[in-house]
Amino acid sequence: MSSYNKNILRGIILLSYVLIIALVIYGVAAIFSYLNTGADRSTMPHTEVKQADQYLPELTWSPLANEGRSMDKENLKAIEDDYLDAWYVRYVAYMTNSMGGVDDFYTESVRKHIRNIVSMNSDNNTFIEATTLAHHPTLEFFSEDGQLAVLTDHDVIEYKRIFNDKKLIAEIYEKSTYRVTLLLEDGFWRIRHLVRMESAPYSAEQEINPITVSDIKGINYYPQATPWDMYGNHFNEAIINTDFEIIKNAGLNSVRIFVPYEDFGKSNVSKDKLEKLVRVLDIAETQHLKVLITLFDFYGDYSVRDWTLTQRHAKSIVNALKSHNALLGWDIKNEPNLDFKSRGEDLVIAWLDNMVDFVRSQDPNHAITIGWSNVKSAALLEDQLDFVSFHYYDQEDQLPEKYQALKANIKNKSIVITEYGMSSYSGFWKPFGNSEDDQADYHQSMQTIFSDNNIQFMSWTLYDFVEIPKEVVGRLPWRQNAQKHFGFIDESRAKKPSFKYISTKE
């Protein structure tokens, strides 16, 4: 019996030995194989594909007249890319108070200065969100062996938001000139010296001579079948042409349309969609309609890091359309005041302020407005705009009073109501909603108010829609259904009673 037990014991000891040895061998093998792994050799020559655009400030080289070796396009592009990345990583460092990425774009002796600033800001609980908006570099010198370049970057517009203890304490605009010495080190153009030669607080705000708009009688437009997806695969010129004809024949003279930010490709605007947008304006021109273009629909970031990308988006669209005869003006953003709560009023206002200036710099000849969602916000940034616009979905009898109060506040500028309307939905989800007759009454009285007070208007909207994307009003059926029935023409393309009051009768 005891020998039987001993044998079991022996067996267990033997097995545990085997197990321990197996584990040790496995452990050694794991360490060995770990030590044998390393960076992928293919990453050595920095040939990896660049990631998506992150930083696209306006940059204009002055004509090349540098000393030293004559510059070629490829090297200039390499310098430009790395130079802008250097700005970007530095500002990311000041925002996060960490040194990630700085090594690639600054030489060792310069990293020290950045590290000092980062650690001091970090000690003081300060961080900085910043971006540059424009660069005007002049290449001063390019060495014969192509390893050293000096450039002077004139009138760099820097925007900074300084936070202390997570609270915004200052907003800074500066316009500076920097002299930059760059060295080509392991494939990167790294900043060796950065010296600010000139600097001054900057304000883009100039006195503007507002471009007046008069006699706008318009409507917000989406095709019936593809609301909020006007430039997709179902883009159909014939439908738009018919619709514009209806609008024209109803006595209206303008339409308001939207450019969705992400759908148009953000900073890299889709050529195809832009062409479709131009076609819409072409059609409007043949129908003698003017078009108010709302930029940045479905945009909600506003963060400082995103500014240069939005600038690039606006630049592409504004420059493609600015000489079009059908263009009425630019509505920078649809109802930005709805983002005040989630993004911070000061940030949204700062973004709008910059964007208004930017769009005006690209196209000084067309009126600029912001489509505020209510009367209360309508006076914001008023001195920057050519005309003031707001949306009105409140009680119609309060309109004259509110309008007059706003008008007293805003001198010398036109005011346009760029959205108003009433849903004629009354059904399961909203049993006490308004009927089509209520809608007609509403439009009739609105038209009377417009005539009495001489108000310019753009109504919401031509059609009742069958399908509303969830991004517009969410998924809730009572909202969706209400949104479907704002039109003057119903789902079966029959004119609703309100159609009679789509415009003031001459």
Binding site: Y94, M120, N121, E144, V150, I169, A170, I172, E198, A200
Partner: protein, 404 residues
């Protein structure tokens, strides 16, 4: 009456003005910069001092070339902002903005680099250039002070260089933070030594190799111990000293190819690289009388004229003997120009024809003046053959060889 009303209006006006001023004073905080200096040198202690009325709870935004900081004041009777040296050490424009409530005062100071030098960074490239005065290397120098600020523009930098007997000194002036000079080559090849000096500080020594320019045409010669076509000795081809157009010997290792064309128009090539401007290459003598024309090239740059070499026939005749069954064939003795046996290794070719068509060809090399062929019974069965033997360009033919 009119005087009185004038007085009244004057007094009213004065009161109004005073009232307005007092009101302003009460409603506004007031901060006045009392530091007058606007230009500093890097490394200076910079303190901005303000007199103030009102709330001392203010902060200052401060930014230099590299970035922004927020400063809090030291409050006594005045507000003192001490600019930390991480900002005051760097040259360039330093902006400050004093923020109080929603308002701000702003200004700027200029920080100049020190006028003492600490290091001269020097970059030179390309490291080797061609002689002749058109090619050049560029020296770029970035002198900095001890706080790593580039020195101010128009600071003088001396560039010193030595090349052969020449020693030169040039002054350049810093522009855009750097100074540069193109260093042109001379007609001579060699090594140029360069150093820079700025404000008494000398750099280390740099050098640029001036390599000879491309070669010019040259001549070639052939060297051989005899002119016999013995298929054994080597002919050595040799170039003259290859030089560039400035009389510099071309760089060692310049690759020269010799093309040899024989009487039949067949080409052979051999090559060598230069040492001290001379390239040599060798080729085995032919084994029969021939004439070679030789021309050498440095590909794409230069070539020699053509030389001609004649090789004399050494073997005038040879004997062929057969064994009894004709299957063992002995060629020889093969005798050279002094009747000595030719050195081992002369190719002897045997061609075997049957019914007018070539059946096989065998090549043997001579050993001690003889070459032996053995025709195997299994390979060459009974029949009539024709044999043809060739050595040193001489052909001997034997028809009607019958094998049992």
């Amino acid at each position: 009456m009119s005087l009185k009303s004038l007085h009244i209006s004057l007094i009213t006006l004065a009161l109004l003005v005073i009232g307005l001023i007092t009101k302003q004073d009460n409603s506004n905080h007031n901060y006045t910069l009392i530091t007058t200096s606007k230009v500093y040198t890097a490394g200076d202690d910079i303190t901005l001092e303000f007199t103030f009325e009102g709330n001392p709870d203010v902060f200052m935004y401060c930014s230099n070339s590299y970035g922004p900081l927020i400063l809090k004041p030291e409050i006594n009777n005045s507000l003192k902002f001490e600019i930390p040296n991480i900002l005051s050490n760097k040259s360039g424009i330093l902006n400050w903005e004093l923020h109080f409530g929603s308002k701000r005062n702003s200004g700027q100071i200029e920080i100049l680099p020190k006028d003492k030098i600490n290091s001269i960074e020097t970059y030179i490239g390309p490291p080797s250039i061609e002689a002749g005065g058109t090619d050049y290397s560029m020296l770029v120098t970035v002198p900095t002070d001890d706080l790593d600020n580039p020195l101010i523009d128009s600071t003088k930098v001396a560039i010193k260089r030595q090349f052969l007997e020449i020693r030169e000194l040039d002054d350049i002036y810093i522009k855009n933070g750097i100074g540069y000079k193109c260093l042109y080559s001379d007609d001579k090849s060699g090594r140029m030594l360069i150093s820079t000096e700025c404000l008494g500080l000398n750099s280390k020594e740099f050098d640029v190799n001036i390599v000879p320019a491309i070669p010019t045409h040259f001549t070639i010669s052939a060297n051989r111990i005899h002119s016999y076509a013995d298929g054994n000795q080597m002919t050595t081809f040799k170039t003259s000293i290859i030089k560039d157009r400035f009389n510099n010997v071309v760089s060692d290792g310049t690759f020269v190819t010799f093309f040899v064309t024989n009487k039949a128009g067949l080409k052979a090539k051999t090559s060598g690289t230069t040492m001290g401007g001379i390239a040599t290459a060798k080729l085995l003598h032919p084994d029969h009388e021939d004439q070679w024309t030789v021309k050498a090239y440095v590909k794409g740059m230069a070539n020699s004229e053509v030389i001609t070499l004649n090789y004399e026939q050494v073997i005038t005749d040879f004997e062929v003997s057969f064994s009894e069954d004709h299957r063992l064939i002995t060629v020889g003795p093969l005798q050279s120009f002094m009747n000595q046996y030719v050195p081992n290794g002369l190719d002897v070719t045997l061609k075997i024809y049957k019914d007018g068509a070539i059946e096989h060809q065998m090549i043997e090399q001579s050993i001690d003046g003889f070459a032996n062929f053995k025709l195997n019974k299994d390979r060459y069965p009974r029949g009539r053959y024709k044999l043809e033997i060739e050595a040193a360009g001489i052909v001997k033919s034997f028809a009607d060889i019958n094998y049992e």
